[in-house]
Symmetry: C2
Subunit: 694 residues, 2 copies
């Protein structure tokens, strides 16, 4: 429901200081009045926005505008040609997600600007002020003087009000798989951080002061600020470059092969720039601001889109048991092996079996900027796809297709229709895509406009084939799962596979940061559930290991929401711990409700979620390298209900370094007045299932 | 038939001057001994080739080699690890062409080289010495030390032995639609020449001394030399950069978006570098060297590939009668108009009707580097494709599909399969493609490796759909019509449409140069047959005009061979001159034999051709801006045969400037002893059909 202000100047809570004076200011407040947005304009035409939260500055006055290369004009000094305000309040239901209903409530301010420098170009800036933050985007309306145009730079700034603690990864045009750094803003050094990384396939660093979004910060006064973007379509991804002299970020868009940023045609819109703000870290995780800023689903019938859990032929390649390629005698994706996975999935009620390494091309797939590697329809001779299609169907399991493009996207685009028809023919309805390698078209980056359009194109096209999508090495997600609910998950961050990376690997705190950063944009196919922590099972020379307890691995199924969740370890490793594995068997991937009980980025997260259409709850609690005593009131349970809680907790002597796989399982009856006391080991966690009994 | 030398050192006519000396020389001769190839190697390892014709230097000692960027190594000093020679002599039959049988006779010399600088990279250079010239290419065999590699530069040189007269167009990565310049080599100034051009959509000039191939030259002593390449596959096109200090050309490959030239994997081969040589200009035009250096057809069944003549909805857009786009009230491709073309084609026995402007997108197609312009399957609402499909079928005519990509090749590649299926569904089997605009992938050029691969991909894919291909704005042809006989023709030069270009237009000599340059690589869809020379029929403000007589327009059907020939003018213009039009109706597009009777680049060409499987001959004679007296012995006719010749000649008072459409038609009986005397007007020509009568 949208309320248009009938009498604009009255209903809007803004103030314009007389236009003959040096500065005009327009102000609006969030529905709960905690946030105040000011738009200011100097007599020169320089226009800034600023944001405060409960009276404290969140964004100092920050510039807005563009440099265009065609026409060659800088849009940074404007006259205000109109101001429009409205309020909006509706509740909508996602196809799947953390909650069944989402409230979308904001005050909107549209400031219509005209370039003062002479081009007469009109640009509107649309601000939406929610209780949990601000979103704003630029709109270039259809206008006589501007049809096609090329963006050379976006001048949007985010001026911080202090030297905040920041959780950041290096700015990069091609990869977001870095380990997180926690420093003050003044101490950001992206090049030094990146220099320590040895295990990322393709990187294109921007500079020492460049970081990526979602960027999580915490002020000295305990205000949490998250910067990101929403609805990234037909535009490059945004990185942020910090000016350390004034602690102001400026947007740095990913360039294309010739150095341009975006090719647009009026009417054109940019993605939303988002600032999620709260004095409670838990509110940051609970925010639906980014989803609210995306468009509703464009998939006409979404009944076929089903959250799912899966196992698969994947981790055994990482740990050296098998290989993707056929040659060498250890080919994983052979018919017999995959049948075993299908058996395991069927036995424990998993929906899918991912099979990597099934198709010809792996023998020579990486690192040569080669265009025609895979054709996506030719199985290796030891992979009997027809037999496996029949076997999976008989067992009630779906095989999940894997399309590794090796970055040769022109090739993938040529094959996409053929490949998706092949999937439908073989009864598959989920594809995991991969983009490991330098992009072809050569000179393009993973996160540039061309690739952003590609990712959206894949989401749209898979939808027409009834296929769910899980994109790896993709651009950072920006809430587009609302618009394309078949686009279930992405990687786009350092996932669990980095437990096996020799250099930095995955620190215990990593998963306490991800929900505050990468996951702000959407679900991640993190592939949790590793039960065997020493990774030398098949190769005694391997030193790398999982820096987690077994219970923390289970807790991740709750703390890191995704509608696609893999049980990533090998069946034989699960078979050793079947009583613990039961939690993974039980945990849902779609929810009616979510309670972020406690959270601190870099330290800990505890979340409770209510299973979709059931009265069962699941709790995940994780900690970083420090042990932690949980005190957990179950007050979110229905009053008067009786519930059986199964508590999968770190054993008393568990420790991610010395005793990671030790756990204790306790079953107790609980009510909404129960307060659970649980100790999390160093690098540990706790998973709890709570089933309604009456 | 390939004869391998049993005793290498005896059968080969080469000499190696003792390896301990300063220079080794290996020599071979052409089968007729007129050409001598020398391969020389200094003690430093620098290896050169040189070529002489009847004792006169054609190519002075010229360098060979590469700069690779991956691995970073310069390959210019070699040791010879092997020499192999053989002879080859076979006769093959093209699917279509100027002659029914082609003799492929050469001596081959394979020089196996190893990098002396330490990389140990092995490269073979294969020389094939024909009676009409030399072809050579580099081969990188499969080898331990080299798998994937990247070419930064090819160091092949062509050192000229004098300051020859040259027929050249400016070196360019994107366009070959320039007017030809005739200067001495020392006077080449590509930038000055290009600065005069205003009517080419997209250009990327290389520099003042850069020219394109095919490059035609004539020495002071009357030797004709043509430089080009054959079998351009998976490699960028070659331009030539002249070092004016020594009159030596060096190859300049077209770069990709990041400045690399070619991405290759061993075993790899380059295109053939070709040098066609003769002291008779007519031999240059008759040469089949480039075809012989291409691979045989890979289209398994070529019975569906048929040379054809067509009319179409095209010139009326150029002269302002109609528009491509729907809006504006002059949309050419409406159902009624196209039916008239079908009627006209059916009446006069044309095979096809080209229809441009049929599909949605033209309203906004050019100049904005826009990716998603056309979808190749959506007709304008006033184009009833189903009705026209039925009407064409009933009339026994095929509609020729038009796929303008506007340079957005990524978009075309996504649609290709769908678009070709759509063609098959609508009973079409010929497509004219167009690439007007800057290429997408952005940063790529029309003539780079990526686009070369695209053009070949289109040829291969159309073949699988039974579709014949006519590519406009393509890379220069290199004889690939032998390998893909469905790839009938290309534009890739200044075609007849430039008669309508305001600035330079098309000079009378242009068509006397094209067969010596652009057509060396393959047929051109030049679109001759303009009968109305003043182009202000529909727009009285137009000053441009056709610089040709009407008879010359007819002669072009013989002098410029193509298996796809358009009668480009409007039906109403042909209806005014139906007696002359009869020649276009009669002239075939496939031939048993061809006699190049006389030729001089820039001045005149006279060719006689024998119709496929018939005893009819057709003669075309054209001249430049000078009038000319033809003396034409018909000695190629069968002895004793009686023939009726219809001579379409310029009227006595015809002149391209003052009286271009004046012609005279004479019918006489001739025999092989007849000598015809015909005057060609300034800018004129003569077309003659000779039908066997008994």
């Amino acid at each position: 429901m949208k309320c248009k202000s009938a009498v604009l100047w009255v209903l809007m809570s803004f103030v314009i200081t007389g236009s003959s004076q040096a500065q005009k200011v327009i102000s609006i407040h969030s529905p709960d009045n905690a946030l105040q947005l000011n738009i200011s304009q100097l007599a020169t035409g320089k226009t800034t926005y600023s944001l405060s939260y409960k009276g404290a500055a969140v964004i100092q006055p920050s510039g807005l505008g563009f440099v265009l290369s065609k026409p060659a004009v800088t849009l940074s000094r404007f006259s205000i040609s109109g101001v429009d305000s409205s309020t909006f309040n509706e509740t909508w239901q996602p196809v799947w997600g953390e909650v069944s209903h989402i409230n979308n409530h904001y005050k909107q301010l549209v400031v219509s600007l005209t370039d003062k420098a002479g081009s007469k170009i009109a640009v509107n800036i649309v601000f939406r002020l929610f209780n949990d933050g601000l979103g704003f985007r630029y709109e270039f309306p259809k206008q006589e003087g501007l049809n096609y145009f090329v963006v050379a730079d976006e001048l949007t700034q985010f001026a911080m009000a202090g030297d905040h603690k920041a959780f950041w990864i290096p700015g990069d045009y091609d990869s977001n798989e870095y380990a997180y750094n926690t420093t003050k803003l003044s101490e950001v050094n992206a090049l030094a951080a990146a220099a320590k990384e040895k295990d990322i396939a393709v990187t294109s660093l921007i500079g020492a002061n460049a970081v990526q979004t979602p960027l999580m910060m915490k002020t000295a006064k305990g205000i949490y600020i998250n910067l990101h973007e929403a609805a990234l379509v037909n535009y490059p991804a945004m990185n942020l470059v910090l000016n350390k002299s004034n602690l102001s970020f400026q947007s740095q868009l990913v360039p294309d092969a010739v150095g341009n940023k975006a090719y647009l045609q009026t009417p054109a819109i940019t993605p939303w720039r988002t600032i999620v703000v709260s004095d409670k870290a838990t509110d940051i995780l609970a925010s639906k601001l980014i989803l609210n800023l995306n468009e509703p689903s464009v998939v006409p019938d979404s009944s076929w889109i089903k959250p799912q859990k899966f196992v698969g032929m994947w981790w055994e390649m990482h740990v050296g048991k098998a290989t993707w390629q056929k040659d060498g005698g250890k080919h994983g994706a052979n018919t017999q092996n995959v049948m075993h996975y299908i058996d395991f999935a069927a036995k424990y009620g998993f929906d899918g079996v991912l099979v990597e390494g099934w198709d010809v091309g792996w023998e020579d797939w990486f690192g040569n900027w080669k265009e025609d590697v895979f054709d996506f329809v030719t199985p290796y001779p030891d992979y009997d796809i027809d037999a496996l299609t029949a076997y999976a169907k008989q067992k009630g399991v779906k095989i999940i297709m894997h399309h590794e493009t090796s970055g040769a996207v022109t090739n993938y685009e040529r094959w996409m229709d053929t490949a998706y028809r092949y999937m439908v023919l073989h009864n598959m309805n989920t594809v995991k895509t991969g983009y490991v390698g330098k992009i072809i078209p050569r000179g393009e980056h993973h996160d540039g406009q061309w690739m952003v359009n590609h990712f959206v194109r894949v989401a749209a096209k898979t939808a027409t084939y009834g296929i769910m999508l899980d994109a790896h090495e993709s651009v950072h997600p920006t809430g587009l799962q609302r618009t394309y609910p078949n686009w279930m998950a992405n990687e786009a961050a350092r996932g669990s596979e980095f437990n096996n990376a020799p250099t930095i690997g995955m620190t215990p705190e990593h998963t306490t940061i991800l929900p505050f950063t990468r996951l702000m944009g959407g679900p991640m196919d993190f592939t949790p559930g590793l039960f065997h922590m020493q990774l030398n099972q098949f190769d005694s020379s391997r030193k790398q290991r999982v820096r987690s307890t077994l219970c923390k691995q289970m807790a991740l199924y709750v703390t890191m929401y995704s509608p696609l969740q893999m049980a990533a370890d090998l069946p034989e490793n699960y078979n050793k711990y079947l009583d613990a594995f039961q939690f993974i068997v039980d945990v849902p991937v779609d929810w009616d409700d979510t309670k972020v009980l406690e959270a601190e980025p870099g330290d800990y997260i505890t979340i409770a979620r209510k299973a979709k259409n059931k009265n069962n709850w699941f709790i995940g609690a994780i900690t970083d390298e420090n042990s932690r005593q949980l005190q957990l009131p179950l007050s979110f349970l229905n009053a008067g209900g009786s519930y059986e809680a199964t508590i999968y907790r770190d054993a008393d002597n568990a420790d991610w370094q010395t005793n990671p796989e030790a756990y204790t399982i306790e079953k107790i009856m609980v009510t909404n007045s129960t307060v659970l006391q649980v100790k999390l080991a160093k690098g540990g966690g706790c998973a709890i299932s709570i089933f309604k009994k009456n």
